[in-house]
């Protein structure tokens, strides 16, 4: 099922990309953002709440009364 059979995953091996000198390279900002499910949850709730729900409700509330 897998491609190459590496060793069993061991919890002690925490450094992620082992091998090569890039084990110390900092993770790019966007990758960190995408790796953070709770930040994404916050964005995924806030953006539509503001632009779709709140903006929409504000417009409905502001409908003028017929003269």
């Amino acid at each position: 099922m897998g491609e190459t059979q590496a060793d069993q995953p061991t919890p002690e091996n925490t450094s992620g990309g082992s091998g090569g000198g890039d084990a110390d390279e900092p993770i790019p900002f966007m990758q960190q953002v995408l790796d953070n499910p709770f930040l994404l949850l916050f964005l995924g709730i806030t953006v539509p709440t503001v632009f779709y729900v709140i903006w929409g409700v504000m417009e409905v509330v502001a409908i003028p009364v017929a003269s």
Partner: protein, 180 residues
């Protein structure tokens, strides 16, 4: 594979294959075309909703509709004797929705414009003008005003296409368009 974590620790810096970049660029351009068609049509197209709407009590809307009908009824139609109303070109005209009919029948003149007010006296209804296939949602407590300019003469039927209970499929109305 997608069911395993990415092989590289830092995948954000992977180079992207050319055809993928090309597709993303083409798709983005198409997305912008899709978007700008809407404001474009507002400027150059003939079918737009002005989004003119007001809060209005059903009794008030009914009064205004009946007032128009009283002034401009020209005859009655059908088994139910529904009034056919021929308002002056350019005027404010009314059609109300109620369980289960559109009232009254309107008679309009081809190539003339009218400010059509739509509202419901009870539940939500769907104003579907056939065979034009113009569809507007009609709410109680709110009226929508749209300026319409019938560009063909003939008989047009209003079918309710918002489910409104057991009589929903019997809810119809009519607009006649006559040559001036």
């Amino acid at each position: 594979m997608s069911i395993f974590p990415p092989a590289q620790r830092i995948w954000w810096k992977e180079p992207i294959e050319r055809s993928e970049i090309l597709w993303v660029t083409i798709a983005l351009v198409w997305c912008l075309v899709l978007f700008f068609m809407m404001p474009y049509w507002h400027l150059y197209g003939d079918q737009n909703l002005a989004n003119e709407a007001y809060k209005i009590k059903p009794e008030v809307f009914a009064e205004r509709t009946e007032a128009m009908a009283e002034k401009y009824t020209v005859r009655e139609e059908g088994d139910t004797g529904i009034p056919v109303v021929h308002p002056p070109a350019g005027s404010d005209i009314y059609m109300l929705a109620r369980l289960w009919e559109w009232w009254p029948v309107l008679e309009l003149e081809k190539n003339q414009s009218y400010r059509l007010h739509l509202s419901s006296l009870d539940w939500q209804h769907g104003f579907s003008l056939l065979p034009e296939n113009i569809n507007i949602q009609v709410h109680p407590d709110y009226e929508m005003v749209i300026t319409i300019t019938p560009n063909k003469s003939g008989e047009f039927t209003v079918v309710c296409n918002e489910f409104c209970g057991i009589g929903h499929h019997t809810m119809t109305g009519k607009i006649h368009v006559v040559d001036k």
